[in-house]
């Protein structure tokens, strides 16, 4: 048994490929826990960043700078009365949030956080991701139907039309990136998520810059379509607050509502991960060509540790600047504890074996975090599209451009 467990440590593949169930389970637990924590962090960050865009402070009361607000929210949502409308279809009403949750979490099976840091590496990875993530439409339609109410119904119809339309442009953009993988020295393309990143490594270029501007346009189309796919501003019509109160989850409350939110944020992280994998070189560190050599490798591998240390320093400056009134004692202690944890993480990240293993995950997460920030930025800046305009953008603008890019990429691949 012990051999079975330890044998994986020396292998050079993902636990799924190695067929090691124990490690696969451990990875699943880590990923599930990590994504849940990331969703909470994103929730806090969104409220904080959005508040600062809008000259507000955002959460400030629960914990230092509202750091514990997501936990307080979670407790509130879990203990809330669970309402099912009288005329609702109880079974479907109950299943809908679970479908959305499962669909958005199942995607993480193939996301490569590093060359070996994935639960498994399917040879049809990207197809699996697109397929499973689009299953969440089903949950949305079911939620809207089961509520037996007008606003959710309209919201869910809008949502299903929108998600299906944008998947077309999204899929074509993905295909153009996959075409680029066949320009390997080995001459065969791949659909595997790890394979796609490795192809970028072998070709010495992120696909964002490949055949400039073709790769960039494909990336831009994907970046727009993924916002629509996850129903976020400015494409948040299904839950357009001012028109449909809350869209397909108007009738949901408490735990079930929080499942919808968890699913939505998990889906946002998942599609951002696709974008990072396909165009931004996945776990590869920035400037792989311009800044090469052992020194730069070392410098980049030290970067995560320094980042955490500087975050810890920021927290500690906050501790020092806290008012010395007894009223703020718990806040000060909390912030000090938070700073210490960050500092400890930073120190651990300097240990060479950890450093080597973690830096892939770090760069991947940093790139995904960039997309998460963009989501918040869009939400603070843009008004909302109208339904017909949204459809027009999807079918008449994004689709032709992505087709042209696909053809252009194929031609460029043949000629260049």
């Amino acid at each position: 048994m012990l051999d079975y467990v330890t044998s994986y440590l020396s292998s050079n593949t993902t636990p799924g490929q190695a067929g090691n169930l124990v490690w696969a389970l451990i990875y699943i637990l880590i990923v599930f826990g990590g994504v849940s924590v990331a969703v909470m962090a994103m929730n806090w960050l969104e409220r904080k960043a959005l508040a600062h865009f809008q000259i507000r402070l955002g959460p400030m009361r629960v914990g230092p700078h509202g750091l514990l607000q997501p936990i307080a929210d979670a407790i509130k949502l879990l203990t809330k009365e669970d309402i099912i409308p009288e005329r609702a279809d109880r079974l479907v009403f109950w299943i809908a949030p679970l479908i959305i949750l499962c669909a958005s979490f199942a995607v993480y099976v193939v996301i490569p956080f590093g060359p070996t840091h994935a639960i498994t590496d399917l040879n049809i990875g990207i197809l699996f991701m697109l397929g499973v993530s689009s299953l969440s439409v089903l949950g949305v339609v079911m939620a809207g139907w089961a509520s037996n109410s007008h606003y959710p119904l309209i919201g869910s119809l809008r949502s299903s039309a929108q998600m299906i339309s944008y998947e077309v442009a999204m899929g074509l953009a993905v295909v153009s990136a996959i075409l680029m993988t066949s320009l390997n020295p080995s001459g065969t393309g791949t659909l595997s998520m790890i394979g796609i990143v490795e192809a970028q490594q072998q070709q010495q270029i992120w696909y964002l810059f490949k055949f400039f501007p073709l790769g960039f346009i494909a990336f831009a189309i994907f970046a727009i379509a993924m916002v629509a796919e996850t129903n976020r501003a400015p494409f948040d019509l299904p839950e357009a607050e001012s028109e449909l109160t809350a869209g397909f989850h108007t009738e949901y409350s408490g735990l079930r509502w929080s499942l919808f939110m968890l699913g939505e944020y998990a889906a946002m992280i998942a599609v951002s991960s696709i974008a990072v994998t396909l165009w931004l070189g996945g776990w590869l560190r920035p400037f792989p060509n311009a800044l090469t050599g052992a020194t730069w490798d070392l410098a980049f591998s030290l970067f995560p540790g320094f980042l955490f240390l500087s975050l810890a320093a920021v927290a500690w400056v906050g501790v020092i600047r806290m008012p010395k009134h007894p009223y703020f004692r718990i806040q000060t202690l909390g912030l000090a504890g938070f700073g210490s944890v960050l500092g400890l993480i930073g120190l651990v990240l300097f240990v060479p074996p950890v450093r080597d293993r973690i830096q892939d995950i770090f760069w991947f997460t940093a790139k995904v975090a960039f997309f998460m920030y963009m989501y918040i930025w869009y939400r603070a800046t843009f008004p909302r599209y109208r339904f017909d305009q949204l459809m027009r953008v999807g079918w008449k603008v994004l689709l032709p451009i992505s087709l042209a890019v696909l053809i252009g990429t194929a031609v460029a691949g043949m000629v260049l």
């Binding site: 809008q54 007008h150 809008r158 109160t245 800046t381 008004p383 599209y385 109208r386 339904f387």
Partner: protein, 384 residues
């Protein structure tokens, strides 16, 4: 079953055992508790998919009988009640009422009082337009302008608070002039404000005016022609955006408006975007008026000679002013006693709201929200 509604509903709601699955038409009830109906407006929409076939407004949820109250109060006692109609432009309401009673009593406010009235009314127009812009943008999905406009509206409310102690329902004017002399530093505060605001208006415009999504959401949405506006009695920025150069400040001048040089911005197409542009320009014109008024603020008394007991001669009077939302008129009938025989208010929001059905027919659900926002209604004024 006898029809309980006083007039046949344009929507013909159909028999209760028919559901929306039996036809393509869907009756959607929006409000009175809905985030985008600006208070307690209830709108019943008849939809074909997302397309609006008809709209019926149900109003009266905020009815407080203001006009009836007026019959049971003396002229001076009724003054604070009018502030509660359009509560985001309380100063304009007060100005209209005071001037109407002054007309009835045949007295005239002294020039200094008129100048103070103009400054405060125009500041209030800015505050009202800022609130409109924030909520309108929020309805269309842009969250951030709301907070920016509220930040700047706060500065106006601070001036009001320093002047008369109240921020929203100010009761700033009295019949015959103003009760309060300007406080020390009033002119400085106002001048500081008019230097502070133009960059802020630029900031709003930067977020919205050339924003592609904003333009697409508002261009050719809720169009209304000048002829329809006139037929329905629509006034204010909605009328001006349709190309009619009608502003009571110029057409039937009151207070100190003849002394000032300003322009009336007009639109061309009468769509939501034009109404937005007209209101944005009106904000800048208001600043122009305030600057002229505060620089030329004359010395002198602020109160005319008003009898202690106001007993206007029997008769009737109609007087209207240009409130931020349109023509605000007061019709007062006096029977020679200390209380009005009848007070009738012509509120701009109430009249403008009647254009909603015409403006949204054949458009989409999302446009209904945009049009309710662009009409700039305040339910306190619609229901009174």
């Amino acid at each position: 079953m006898p029809d309980s509604t006083p007039h046949p509903s344009p929507l013909e709601l159909g028999s209760p055992d028919k559901t929306f699955l039996d036809s393509n038409e869907l009756i959607l009830n929006m409000g009175p508790q809905h985030p985008a109906t600006h208070g307690v407006l209830r709108v019943i929409l008849k939809l074909d998919g997302e397309k609006v076939l008809g709209v019926e407004c149900v109003i009266g949820y905020l009815h407080r009988g203001v006009e009836k109250i007026g019959e049971n109060r003396t002229y001076a006692m009724f003054n604070p009640y009018v502030d509660r109609m359009d509560y985001v432009a309380a100063v304009s309401n007060g100005l209209g009422y005071c001037e109407t009673v002054e007309k009835l009593l045949q007295i005239e406010a002294p020039p200094r009082a008129n100048y103070i009235r103009v400054i405060l009314t125009e500041l209030n127009r800015l505050a009202s337009h800022m609130l409109w812009l924030g909520t309108h943008a929020l309805d269309i999905g842009a969250m951030t302008p709301l907070f920016y406009t509220f930040r700047d509206r706060e500065e106006i409310l601070k001036i009001f608070e320093k002047y008369c102690g109240a921020r929203l329902t100010t009761h700033a004017f009295r019949i015959g002039g103003c009760l309060y002399e300007t406080y020390d530093g009033f002119e400085h505060d106002v001048k500081k404000f008019i230097d502070f605001v133009p960059p802020k208006i630029d900031e709003y415009e930067e977020l919205l005016t050339s924003n592609r999504i904003w333009v697409e959401r508002t261009k050719n949405v809720g169009n209304i022609s000048a002829a329809d506006c006139k037929a329905l009695g629509v006034t204010g920025p909605v009328l001006r955006a349709s190309g009619v150069k009608w502003d009571i400040r110029k057409a039937l001048p009151y207070a100190a408006y003849p002394d000032f040089d300003f322009e009336i911005p007009v639109g061309a197409n009468g769509d939501t975007y034009d109404r937005y542009l007209v209101r944005m320009q009106e904000m800048r014109q208001s600043l122009r008026i305030i600057r002229q008024a505060v620089e030329g603020l004359p010395e002198g008394p602020i109160m005319a000679k008003v009898p202690k007991v106001m007993k206007p001669p029997a008769g009737e009077v109609y007087h209207s002013i240009e409130a931020p939302k349109g023509e605000l008129g007061y019709f007062i009938v006096s029977d020679g006693s200390t209380q009005p025989y009848r007070v009738r208010v012509r509120p701009p929001s109430f009249v403008n709201l009647q254009a909603l059905d015409l403006m949204v027919r054949g458009q989409l659900v999302a446009d209904v929200i945009a049009v309710i926002g662009t009409l700039d209604i305040v339910l306190g004024e619609v229901d009174r």
